[in-house]
């Protein structure tokens, strides 16, 4: 389901979400069990593990990082998710419509709800680097995407 939800939210086909080592499908070939699948034919595993494994959070991060990075790369040419951002330019201000629209879009696409004020505030911290200078908009887009898509809310809902 994580694969399907990410695919739908980021408008990427499942096979476009993530590959390991350039050729292995992240979900089917590498992280299947960690992400809640199972392997009845190969290993006689007839049911998924009852609880997330130790490496589940890391597997989630890898898949989400790859998927968000791919989405940002594609939005340079054909915008689908980060429509309010000029990805080649600096990240917008925290008070800008571009920031609000981007965060709203991520929450609606990934969590099917509007963000609350505290969540805007947290994500606004990603607009600037450690010196307080605006980061590139594409970096903000990727960071915000990964942050929201690896929350426990996205994992468990």
């Amino acid at each position: 389901m994580l694969e399907q939800d990410l695919s739908r939210a980021l408008e990427l086909a499942p096979e476009e979400l993530c590959t390991e080592l350039g050729s292995y499908d992240c979900v089917d070939d590498i992280h299947l069990v960690a992400l809640g699948g199972h392997d009845p034919f190969g290993r006689g595993q007839y049911a998924p593990v009852a609880k997330p494994m130790v490496t589940t959070p890391l597997a989630v991060e890898r898949v989400v990082l790859a998927a968000c990075s791919e989405r940002v790369a594609r939005d340079h040419d054909e915008r689908a998710v980060f429509t309010a951002l000029e990805l080649d330019g600096p990240a917008p201000a925290a008070t800008s419509d571009a920031f609000i629209e981007t965060v709203d879009a991520l929450y609606q696409r990934l969590l099917s709800r509007d963000p609350i004020d505290a969540e805007y505030e947290v994500l606004a911290e990603l607009l600037v680097d450690d010196q307080g200078e605006p980061v590139l908009a594409e970096r903000f887009a990727a960071e915000a995407c990964v942050a929201v898509a690896t929350t426990t809310e996205f994992i468990f809902i």
Binding site: D5, L32, V33, T55, P57, V146, V148, I157
Partner: protein, 496 residues
Amino acid sequence: MSKTTSCSRRRMLAGLGGLVGAAALGAALPPRRAAAEETDTTVDPADRRLLFVVCASGGASLIDSFLPVSVDEVPDGVDASTLNVYPSELIAQPGASTIRCVRPIPDTSFLTPGYAIETFLEAHYESMTVLTHEVTSVNHNVAQKRAMTGAGINGGRTIAEAVSARYGLGMPLANCNMGYDGYLEPGTDRYLPSHARAEVILNPRTYALSTHGSRGITSPLDEASFERVRAARGRLDQVSPFGITYRDSPLRQDYVRARDEVGPQLESMDAITKLMLLDADGPEAAQLGLSPMLDTLRATFPQLDSDIWQQQSALSFLLSFFGLSCANTVALEFNPSFEGDDLVGAPLAFDYSHVLHRPSQSVMWGRTLQVVDGLVKLLQSFDYLGDPALGKMWDRSLIYVATDFGRDKNRPFGSEMFGTGHHLNNGSLLLSPMLQGNRVFGGVDPSTLLTYGFDRQTGAPEPGTLMREGDVYSLVAQAMGVDFPGRRDMSAVLAG
């Protein structure tokens, strides 16, 4: 492979509320285990022990490996031609070994023989302990699971879970299971500490990738940027309505602990490099290193790059050597295995005995023992954690060759090529310096080929008695320093 899962994210959520309640109830109940050994402190590396469960899937028969009976030993009045006995020239007893074995048989049909049982016995008889038992199921799945749980003698806890509960706190991947079918199933002890739950590994060659959140993934975010994201994600979890509502859910807490504590531990230990067995090309691979032990492993396991069985064994060694785990389970799979055009692993593993009993037993025992041989040699060669002060890994290791059950003891009149069904009666092979080596405990009735038991305190054979799955489990537990209510005293089998 299946992604249709009963462990969906939404089902996990549905369990959250219930788990909160269960946690509250659990707090009011007395703990099941006094469990002095299950404290919340880590075990000093010097005191750790290492378990390797090598699963000979499908029914590895001891009377076709280390408890053979020769034609000459069958009593008068019993028809040897209908018993699965071997010509005396096919039975070997090398040097000072008190254990015997079946030599390579002359005809293995279309199965390709490799490593010989006899070669293993010659090399390892001093470390080998053979004990008889009779199991309680001839259903593969049920029998396999009972081989792991001792038929439930320890509250449903598998022996790997029990060892991990005892020694695994602080190890990020204490209990790694690369098993098959029933060997892969978790135990049923609801009080099992979370650090002892199995990490299921399907693909040992690429498992290393699961131990790092970002390295090797093509992204505009560098590692510093990724850490910023993680920090922001943690704050989002703290302020979100979901995070607040389910803050105390044990399931969510478990996930967050793995994410915020174990994940960084794996990354700081550089597990992604230490465990990497896939020598890949391409820009992504360029970001990744290869296990520093790869050359050694390739020398030990010649088919490491193509044979998942050898990959499992290699990974189990790496996980133990680097202090990532204390219990590893590997298993023959039921799919056939090839080396080029040679069929080196029978379809259904040992269970191909239904069709070709002796060829399957001979070839699959060889295939099993080849990796045990490699594992023992590695454990005997390397200091634990690479620290000479901790001694050789072997000094703290136990290898339990688990199997489902035995095979039928009869054969069609005079036949060398026949099929067998499942049989409850069998035995087990274990190797450890913590056990009495070069010993057989129990025996075989040459008139029936049924094994019989032994006295648990003296080790004396006792015809007419039977050992059970719980005896094998108790022995492994006792040797590994794992106590539990109802553990049988197997002192006779322990090293002095």
